[in-house]
């Protein structure tokens, strides 16, 4: 009975909340401005509920009463003082007509690069919240919105999530303008286009789609813009929201967008005919379309000499296979196909497994989960404590588990090798996908042995063949087969041989190197 009573109360609470008229009122900002300064100011005050960070400064210029409104922290105060207030206070022009006065302010007095007229409270609120300053003049129903946004943003730093030995050290920051300028600095081509969107019904964040006009397939740009327009979300703090909203298949374990903090990676992607999506508030930029091959490439592959890069790429592919199949393969061999193990190894595996009470699958899952726990703990902990996780995990758990007879030493080797291999992925989001699949493969191996592994492998291959990243096959250029693109896939051919842009992205300008090198 009591429980039911609780429910009733809760329900009525919701109902009351729904009926509350004040919640809807605040979204209605289309009120036009009046002529009276005080009334206009009180409108703004009401809108922001007299917020603490709202600054209203009254002053006069000649015979006119003025006020500037801004939000503390979002504006560059110094800038407002030197280029707006001082100029206006020192003026001697004395015009009687407020409209004319505002015009003079616009034309002569205010020395700012960005300035515009506004009439509705809606525009004013957007301006204020973007860090602009609003200039009110008594006696006119217009205001000037001054581009004074500033405040503190992060410095450009080396990306933490993707470290390279050789390559540019700059990384994107949270501020989108800085990020755009970074890209402009890499590609000084007037054809670098930025199409902006606004997402977040309430947060009103700036989102920019970058592409190279004349290189990128127009249909690709259209499709991305179409998808971006469908986004209806109140708030998107990170580009992950955008990615998950517009990706082709949300059930797939594979990421269909690459995310990166590196401007060099993004600009290289743009030059390959891909598009980039920048969102204000996050240093992570999305690039698409993405193929399976892309996920295993690192910008460093191009910075090092080709033979080294090719070998490293082959190593990375090997790493993928090891990290995905090794535990499953071990389970399959030990529990189904003992005959496939070389005799002497079979004996020593059998000897070490003698005291272990669990079947190899349980053993592998146990160690696999431990490994994931360690990794997750290491990632979440502050860096100074994170170090200890390695010691606890590596020495205590690994060694002690073997001594206690819970797992066999060979299993520890398998898990360690798997973990090391999975750290070779250049992209974290892909690493997660393969980590998940590893457990699926382990289950398949436990149920059906090698046969199960192959079945699941085929199933995943079918899925990959089916998967698309904004319409581009995920398995390209393996299938559909673009032999020309294989020069830059598992191996990375010498730069001088990479004459054309990838076929996969269907670029409009196909030629990268014009001169005949023969």
């Amino acid at each position: 009975m009591k429980e039911r009573g609780d429910k009733m109360v809760r329900r009525s609470f919701f109902r009351r909340n729904k009926k509350n008229p004040s919640s809807n009122q605040k979204e209605n900002f289309t009120i036009k401005l009046g002529n009276d300064l005080e009334k206009n100011l009180s409108n703004v005050k009401n809108m922001l509920d007299d917020a603490e960070d709202l600054i209203i400064r009254h002053f006069t210029s000649g015979s006119h009463k003025l006020a500037i409104v801004c939000l503390e922290g979002l504006v560059d105060k110094e800038f407002v003082q030197t280029h707006v207030i001082r100029n206006l206070q020192e003026t001697n022009d004395d015009l009687s007509d407020p409209a004319q006065t505002l015009d003079v302010f616009f034309q002569k007095m205010i020395s700012l690069t960005s300035i515009k007229y506004a009439q509705s409270l809606d525009d004013i609120s957007y301006g204020l919240l973007s860090g602009n300053t609003v200039l009110y003049l008594n006696g006119i129903d217009q205001v000037l919105i001054l581009g004074t946004s500033g405040g503190k943003t992060r410095e450009i730093q080396e990306p933490v999530s993707e470290s390279l030995i050789r390559g540019p050290r700059d990384g994107f920051v949270e501020d989108i303008q800085t990020n755009i300028s970074l890209l402009r600095r890499y590609i000084r081509d007037p054809n670098l286009r930025f199409k902006s969107h606004e997402i977040g019904r309430r947060s009103k964040q700036k989102l920019v789609v970058a592409f190279m006009d004349g290189i990128t397939d127009q249909d690709l740009v259209k499709e991305v813009n179409r998808r971006l327009e469908t986004i209806d979300i109140d708030f998107a703090p990170e580009s992950g929201f955008v990615e998950q909203w517009i990706e082709d298949s949300f059930l797939s374990p594979f990421p269909q967008f690459m995310n990166t903090e590196r401007p060099d990676k993004v600009s290289a992607a743009l030059m390959q005919g891909k598009i980039a999506i920048l969102l204000n508030g996050t240093p992570f930029v999305l690039t698409a379309p993405t193929t399976l091959g892309d996920t295993l490439q690192s910008p460093e592959d191009y910075y090092e000499r080709w033979s080294v890069s090719s070998l490293i790429r082959i190593l990375r592919y090997l790493g993928v296979f090891i990290s995905m199949f090794l535990p499953a393969f071990y389970i399959a061999l030990v529990s189904y196909h003992q005959g496939m193990i070389p005799t002497k190894l079979a004996f020593s595996i059998a000897a070490t497994r003698e005291g272990v009470p669990f079947p190899s699958f349980v053993e592998a899952v146990l160690m696999g989960i431990t490994m994931e726990l360690l990794r997750e703990a290491g990632a979440r902990l502050p860096q100074s404590i994170g170090q200890t996780i390695g010691i606890v995990g590596g020495l205590v758990i690994g060694d002690a588990a073997v001594r206690a007879g819970i797992v066999s030493p060979i299993m520890v080797i398998v898990v360690a090798l798997t973990a090391i291999s999975s750290f070779t992925y250049p992209a974290y989001s892909v690493a997660i996908a393969f980590r998940m699949l590893r457990f699926a493969f382990m289950i398949a191996a436990a149920l059906l042995g090698l046969y199960g592994i192959i079945l699941l492998y085929i199933a995943i291959m079918i899925h990959i063949a089916n998967l698309k990243s904004i319409g581009v096959p995920y398995s390209a250029p393996f299938s559909p087969t673009f032999i020309d693109d294989w020069k830059d896939l598992v191996i990375r051919a010498p730069i001088t041989l990479l004459k054309n842009r990838p076929v996969t992205t269907q670029t409009r300008d196909k030629v990268r190197i014009k001169k005949e090198n023969s």
Binding site: Q338, G339, T343, K344, A346, S348, A351, E354
Partner: protein
């Protein structure tokens, strides 16, 4: 399970020949891991024997005797007792399961044991932890010695059983409580029974005729002094000189390149004449060895262990078809045929010294 030994059962009853199967089970804990080295006091293997009518039947019986089921995928060696394989058709019968079953590997070694197979499985070798692995690696030494033939595997046996030609299988024996390579057991292809064995120089002779010698050493007497020569390369060519139902004449050309491995005398090997003398001595020695083998095989065993029949089969097929039934069985044309041997020898090098001092020194 790494090895199986098959003997004739001690108690025979009924029409069917009863056999005793001995399986060697590995105790992995006894082997230990490479780092731990294994418990020295712990046995590394255990042997189980049971008797019955068929191998399969005995295997099922064995499940009642142990907590481990026989697992054949790691089987390394099948040891067959000499006594048993001397009985006609029995080899075929006992090998059937090893050939037929899908759990069996084609690469399992097959050897014949002098005496009881069970005892071979029981030895405790010094260098390996498992007797079967010990024998296996022993058989693989064949490339270093002309007195050993290449290992014979189950797939070879399969082949031998299917055609009616004669064949040879390695023969091992117990010397005290050690295992030694004795020679080969010669099988008659018709009834698949062992008719005899070739050991020592007889086997070298056989290997020279069949062209299986790759390396090995030969001792020759040069001017009264013993000299050991290492065979570097040996090849042979067989030709059928004349063929009739009464007599087939083969000619065997053996070419041998050797180097001087050890000398007990002193010679100046830079001199051509010295080398000529050595070459001649070697030639004579090889003649002797080969002829000795031919006599033994042809007159004693009367079974074509040289597999000269394949020469006829490949190059003189119509003739072979005629005499096939009477080759080394029936009228036994093989034992009436003649084998002419020609030997060419060459000393390729004398080692890294070209002069040895006279006895006693100067």
């Amino acid at each position: 399970m790494v090895g199986s030994g098959i003997d004739l059962a001690e108690e025979q009853e009924g029409d069917h020949t009863k056999i005793t199967l001995t399986n060697q089970f590995v105790i992995p804990a006894g082997l230990g891991t490479p780092s731990e080295g294994g418990g020295a006091d712990q046995k590394t293997f255990t042997n189980l024997s049971a008797s019955g009518n068929s191998v399969f039947d005995i295997n099922r019986k064995m499940a009642k005797l142990t907590n481990r089921t026989p697992f054949y995928q790691h089987l390394k060696m099948i040891v067959l007792a000499e006594e048993m394989v001397k009985k006609p058709y029995l080899l075929e019968d006992v090998m059937d399961l090893f050939i037929r079953d899908q759990e069996m590997r084609r690469g399992v070694h097959v050897v014949i044991a002098e005496g009881e197979a069970r005892k071979i499985l029981d030895i405790e070798p010094k260098l390996e932890k498992l007797p079967m692995l010990y024998i296996e690696s022993m058989l693989k030494n064949s490339y270093k010695n002309a007195e050993i033939i290449e290992e014979i595997h189950v797939d070879d046996i399969h082949l031998y059983l299917l055609d009616k030609k004669s064949y040879i299988i390695p023969l091992i024996t117990m010397e005290g409580n050690k295992i030694a390579y004795k020679g080969v057991a010669v099988f008659q292809g018709e009834e698949d029974r062992m008719v005899g064995s070739l050991v020592g120089d007889e086997l070298v002779g056989l290997n020279l005729v069949t062209g299986k010698v790759k390396e090995g050493s030969i001792e020759a007497e040069v001017e009264g002094k013993l000299m050991t020569l290492e065979i570097l390369d040996a090849s042979r060519k067989i030709k059928v000189k004349s063929k009739s139902k009464e007599k087939v004449v083969f000619s065997v050309d053996i070419k041998i390149a050797a180097s001087i491995a050890e000398t007990f005398g002193s010679e100046d090997f830079t001199k051509d004449r010295t080398l000529k003398i050595i070459e001649k001595a070697l030639k004579e020695k090889i003649h002797k060895i080969v002829n000795q083998a031919i006599v033994k095989v042809k007159d004693d065993l009367k079974v074509d262990a040289f597999r000269l029949s394949s020469e006829l089969y490949q190059k003189h097929y119509p003739f072979w078809e005629e005499i096939e039934e009477d080759w080394d069985r029936g009228e036994n044309i093989f034992s009436k045929s003649e084998i002419e041997v020609k030997v060419q020898t060459e000393i390729k090098n004398a080692g890294v010294t070209n002069r040895t001092e006279k006895e006693g020194g100067k």
